[in-house]
């Protein structure tokens, strides 16, 4: 446990110091999105990596958080700090209710059901024009404020978003090492065995699904208040898949892996932009290589790579 705290401390310090290096530039803005995506990836990873339940509908929860917060503040002039928790509660309740029938399903069927959920939510965003502004989006969402500080610049947003992200990292690390975390991993390995050992598996699965949805909703609300604009296109099926890719590339079941995956998938397209029209091909190729040669994700693959290189170096030194 002490080691975990130490790891978290190092991570938090790195995060807090990063703006000293990148301040002022465009990268700062991208790092804000890395924070939001990290939150989302951790949320999904709790479900997929720890409990072994897939979801292809998480962009829907993300979008619901964004829209509920956005509509309450932009249309009904609520205080964002009240809209955010309300959005989280509504999304959590919804996830809890539909969790029971949906999580009875397994494998491909669960993937299909959550995929359907995501698509229904996406259609609702598009069709309820009077409420959501439809496909052309909802504008005029206010920034968050704290006392006299308005979070309206990249640096301020960076600390706001990463403050929340760090809290979620700490929470997820603790959860994974708790009794609940062990029960989740038991469900992951064998649901029957977990049941035999006295774990209420169906309730536990629904609870973790709900938690995952609440985290996504929170990320969505924060997204809405930093962007000050939301449109349905950001919450489509593609984004659900992108989140899944972040989790898998980063490392299933690892909190810091989620961060690595989110950071890589958010930053890589920015660096590849230099390659102009070929960026999509390089991006796809890199992802394929990573899945092929780092099946454990970045969080295991990168240290392995270093170890291999180091050992080879040592051997040649001996020879």
């Amino acid at each position: 446990m002490k080691r975990e705290l130490l790891k978290f401390g190092v991570f938090a310090i790195l995060v807090l110091l990063a703006p000293l290096l990148f301040s002022g530039g465009y990268l700062m803005n991208v790092l804000v999105f890395v924070g939001i995506n990290t939150m989302l990836a951790i949320g999904l990873n709790l479900l997929l990596g720890n409990a072994g339940q897939i979801s292809l509908g998480h962009a829907g929860f993300f979008g619901m958080g964004a829209y509920i917060s956005g509509i309450l503040t932009a249309t009904y002039a609520w205080n964002p700090w009240f809209a955010m928790p309300l959005a989280a509660v509504v999304v959590g309740l919804l996830a809890f209710l539909i969790g029971f029938p949906i999580l009875k399903l397994k494998g491909h069927y669960l993937a299909m059901a959550t995929l359907g959920l995501g698509i229904i939510v996406f259609i609702v965003f598009n069709e309820t024009v009077d409420l959501t502004g439809g496909p052309s989006g909802l504008s005029g969402i206010p920034n968050l404020t704290m006392g006299s500080v308005t979070f309206d610049s990249d640096v301020k947003n960076y600390y706001l978003i990463w403050g929340f992200t760090l809290m979620i990292v700490l929470f997820a690390v603790n959860l994974a090492n708790s009794r609940v975390g062990r029960a989740l991993r038991a469900v992951h390995d064998s649901e029957v065995a977990a049941k035999v050992l006295g774990v209420n598996t169906s309730l536990l699965k629904v609870q973790i699904f709900t938690l995952s949805a609440v985290i996504s909703s929170l990320a969505g609300s924060l997204y809405a208040h930093t962007m000050t604009f939301v449109a349905p296109a950001s919450f489509g099926f593609n984004f659900s898949v992108e989140l899944l890719t972040m989790v898998v590339i980063g490392g299933l079941g690892s909190v810091y892996g989620s961060f690595l995956g989110a950071a890589l998938l958010t930053l890589l397209p920015e660096f590849l932009r230099a390659a102009h029209d070929y960026d999509i091909i390089i991006y796809g190729g890199l992802l394929m290589l990573m899945v092929m040669f780092m099946p454990g994700g970045l969080v295991r693959g990168v240290p392995d790579l270093f170890r291999k290189l180091f050992r080879r170096g040592k051997e040649s030194g001996h020879a």
């Binding site: 069709e127 024009v129 496909p135 052309s136 989006g137 504008s139 990249d154 962007m227 950001s234 932009r273």
Partner: protein, 379 residues
């Protein structure tokens, strides 16, 4: 001593040469175009045209002795990406003005940034709400959809048809059109007897069209971009739906006629003048710009230029005109844009003012009909 004098003068002359070479760094213009993704049919001609026009301006010696430099990025039609890239253009590339993005949601997403950073934006999307209400730093070149709607309604009023069915696509373009259709119907004594939507990727619209038939509408208005409207045209023909069909300027390209084939015959739509440039009377003030653009695009890209490219042409030329009036800073360009009057471009004749950042009148459109797989003007 003499040697020293020579080395000094050499240094000075080197400095002089350098200062001439660097006297006027290029004016950077940012471009945000949806080159890939679902809006690629808009973004690609826009980017191509912007590149072409900037190259030509530079070949001709630039503007007021300064070259232009286009820094363009692909937004993939996603509002989040558009916002990030707008930030990149402003903070990293330090552009003086921005052209784009291609779609209304993207434009709405980046408006807060350009307003805050004080960078003039010329949007290429059609949604009326981009410049209504007027935002200090935001202009647009795409014709407002409200103008297109009034063309159709005026025609229907003349034909004494008052019961109309509308089908709109569920994208930003469609929902903006639907708003305008519903808002203006009463003014022309038209009642919308049927109102439904279709998905941008739906492959069969028979269900909606059957309901259109049951509604006893006298005419059908379809608001969408390719390929949906072409499928509607085909389905309507298969169902034997006889009422006249009107479409939006969203399909005013040869691509639509290709997709719909014979089913396109007799369909009428309001359109920018690009597609009928050669049919326009000699007296039309836009004729010169239009012919030049069409010929240029054909030479460069071996395909016909459309009104999407036209929006980019207008945007670059308007910025050029603003710089020529003596403003090459963001604020200078913005102020001069508001002073532009009677600029005959591709999308229409632009006259911006402090109250109007869309700049176009009703003459930006003409009503065209599809006959023998080609466009003819409706008188």
């Amino acid at each position: 001593m003499i040697r020293r004098f020579f080395s000094c003068s050499a240094a000075v002359s080197v400095l002089l040469v350098c200062s001439i070479a660097f006297a006027a760094p290029p004016i950077k213009i940012g471009g945000l175009f949806a080159v890939s993704g679902p809006s690629a049919p808009l973004g690609e001609p826009e980017r191509n045209t912007a590149k072409m026009v900037v190259d030509e301006i530079n070949k001709a010696g630039g503007v007021n002795g300064r070259k232009l430099e286009l820094v363009s990025y692909d937004t993939t039609g996603d509002a989040t990406k558009a916002l990030q890239l707008a930030n990149k253009l402003i903070k990293d590339d330090k552009v003086t003005a921005i052209i784009g993005p291609s779609t209304t949601p993207e434009a709405m997403a980046i408006i807060p940034v350009v307003e805050k950073e004080h960078i003039p934006l010329i949007a290429l999307a059609a949604g009326s709400k981009i410049t209504d209400p007027v935002k200090k730093w935001v202009f647009k070149t795409a014709q407002n959809d409200s103008l297109a709607v009034s063309w159709i309604f005026e025609y229907l009023q003349k034909q004494k048809q008052s019961k109309v069915a509308i089908l709109t696509v569920s994208t930003g373009f469609g929902s903006s059109g639907r708003e305008q259709l519903k808002a203006q119907a009463a003014r022309y004594g038209i009642s919308l007897v049927f109102d439904d939507t279709f998905g941008p990727n739906d492959s069969d619209m028979t269900a909606q069209l059957t309901k259109v038939r049951a509604s006893h509408a006298q005419a059908l208005i379809v608001w969408g971009t390719n390929p949906g409207p072409a499928k509607i045209a085909n389905n309507a023909r298969q169902l034997g739906l006889k009422i006249p069909i009107f479409m939006s300027h969203g399909v005013s390209s040869k691509k639509f006629i290709e997709l719909a084939g014979d089913a396109a015959e007799g369909i009428k739509l309001p359109s920018g003048k690009v597609i009928v440039a050669d049919l326009l009377p000699k007296s039309d003030s836009q004729r010169k710009s239009l012919m030049a653009f069409v010929k240029d695009y054909q030479n460069h890209y071996k395909t016909e230029g459309d009104h999407f490219g036209g929006h980019a042409w207008d945007a670059v030329m308007l910025i050029k005109a603003a710089i020529e009036r003596g403003g090459d800073t963001p604020a200078g360009i913005r102020d001069n844009l508001e002073k532009i009057k009677g600029f005959a471009g591709i999308g229409g004749t632009f006259s911006y003012s402090a109250q109007d950042h869309a700049g176009l009148g009703k003459d930006a459109f003409v009503l065209v009909e599809i006959k023998n797989r080609d466009w003819v003007l409706v008188k």
